[in-house]
Amino acid sequence: MNSLYSRLRGTAVWRSVFRSGTGDTNLHRSLTVQQNIFLHLASVKIRRRALEFGVTWYLGTLSMASFVILVVTGVLLMLYYHPSVPQAYADMKDLQFVVSAGVFLRNLHRWAAHAMVVLVFAHMFKVFYRGAYRPPREFNWVVGVMLLLLTLFLSYTGYLLPWDQLAFWAITVGSNIISAVPAMGAKIRFLMLGGHTVNANALLRFYVLHCVILPLIAAVFLAVHFWRIRKDGGLYTGDKPRE
């Protein structure tokens, strides 16, 4: 098994895909991180202390993991969803009773969304209580606050999509809060909903925000967030060396 794997890694095709070569030296291990577009945001070495569970509780990692789960399940759900009234609700029923594994995917998407909100909040409080927000990491904290807001917007726009009573009234109340903004509140609400009431236009706008615009913005902020971890000196492990 092992020899098969190493022979596979020696083939011309494998080496053309993974340019880091073979071997288990530290140089090779560094190259696997450096030469991989997904891993290269991380540094090749990390403080041993930063990997201990108690330092981060892996909350940032888990937030990102829930985001990935949401992207995968969300894209699959999009294949059976029409953002129109009242077809959207009928699609929910189809997912429940007609589509194979549809109810499972919808459940996973829903619970992962709740999990992501919890994890992002927990991540923020953990970072605060460890003092990891202090200079030189202050800008990354701000990026993190933006990501928290994006998480809430993503969750909120997704809340309308099933087009059931829960969704409709949560968005009605929420959009009326926006119209309380002084001077231009009613205008903002009109632009957000694409009308005076929560209706077909609002559903379509929330769908586009939820599936395209907000995830793209979140992906950009996530890239900056991870990049800045490294540029600001790696994961914070505390001022004092451990006794």
Binding site: A42, I46, R48, L166, I177
Partner: protein, 244 residues
């Protein structure tokens, strides 16, 4: 950065710096910092312990991600996501509740006009979160009561009393109670002996930002729990276990 430099300039050799490398340096990328001028960098740690991202960090991340995935899959198999009837603009369900993470806000909307609870307070919270690292960074993280205890205790009493009076005026008891609890804890810890090794001493070593954030956390949790479990038809108070 500085941990790569071993030793400073010897007396006999007035060079600006001297750098040396680990034996592993031929294979491992090394960062080198050149400290110009004849100063000794203040090194608190002699080379912190680092491991390779691949495989040490990647394996742990993979385990964490899989653990989350397993938990979510099990939850998804056991519990169905809620789905109510088709949206009906003519009939408001009673009570009409927002998603749980907005229920703290909805509870505030019960007490204050929408422009205060829906616009001003959330904007202030976001603004406060953004400016945290720029305002009173408190790098030393000095305990709140360590200095000027007398003057600070007057300030704390005034601040807690003013906030409580405001909350009583608007009868926002859902915020008043957590405010009194966290403010009271702050005042009580002033009396804890500084050498206390237990919980009191730990609390006493905490700086002001800790107390403000904890107050915010306790208020947010209280409001969210009240909005989720203790509010029924017409947003009236109900007990989650039913009538007594």
């Amino acid at each position: 950065m500085v941990d790569c430099i071993r030793g400073t300039s010897p007396v006999s050799e007035p060079k600006d710096f001297r750098a040396s490398f680990d034996s592993d340096s031929q294979r491992t990328p090394v960062r080198v910092a050149f400290v110009t001028r004849r100063t000794t960098p203040h090194v608190t740690k002699a080379g912190d312990d680092r491991v390779m991202t691949n495989p040490d960090a990647l394996l742990r991340v993979a385990v964490a991600v899989m653990a989350l995935l397993i938990v979510l899959v099990v939850v998804s198999l056991l519990f169905d996501a809620p789905l109510e009837g088709l949206a009906n603009p003519l009939q408001t369900p009673n009570p009409a509740k927002a998603p749980w993470y907005f229920l703290g806000l909805q509870e505030l909307l019960h007490y204050f006009p929408p422009v205060v609870a829906g616009v001003v307070i959330p904007s202030l919270v976001v603004l406060a979160l953004v400016v945290i690292p720029y305002f009173n960074v408190n790098v030393e993280a000095e305990g709140f009561w360590n200095r000027n205890g007398e003057r600070k205790s007057i300030l704390v009493w005034v601040a807690v009393a003013a906030l409580s009076a405001f909350l009583v005026w608007f009868s926002v008891y859902a915020v008043l109670v957590p405010t009194l609890v966290s403010g009271g804890a702050l005042i009580v810890t002033a009396a804890a002996p500084p050498q206390d090794k237990g919980f009191g001493g730990w609390l006493r070593s905490k700086p002001l930002p800790f107390w403000i954030m904890t107050w915010f956390l306790v208020v947010a949790i209280t409001l969210t729990v009240i909005g989720t479990c203790f509010r029924g038809a017409g947003w009236s108070w109900v007990w989650p276990w039913g009538e007594l």
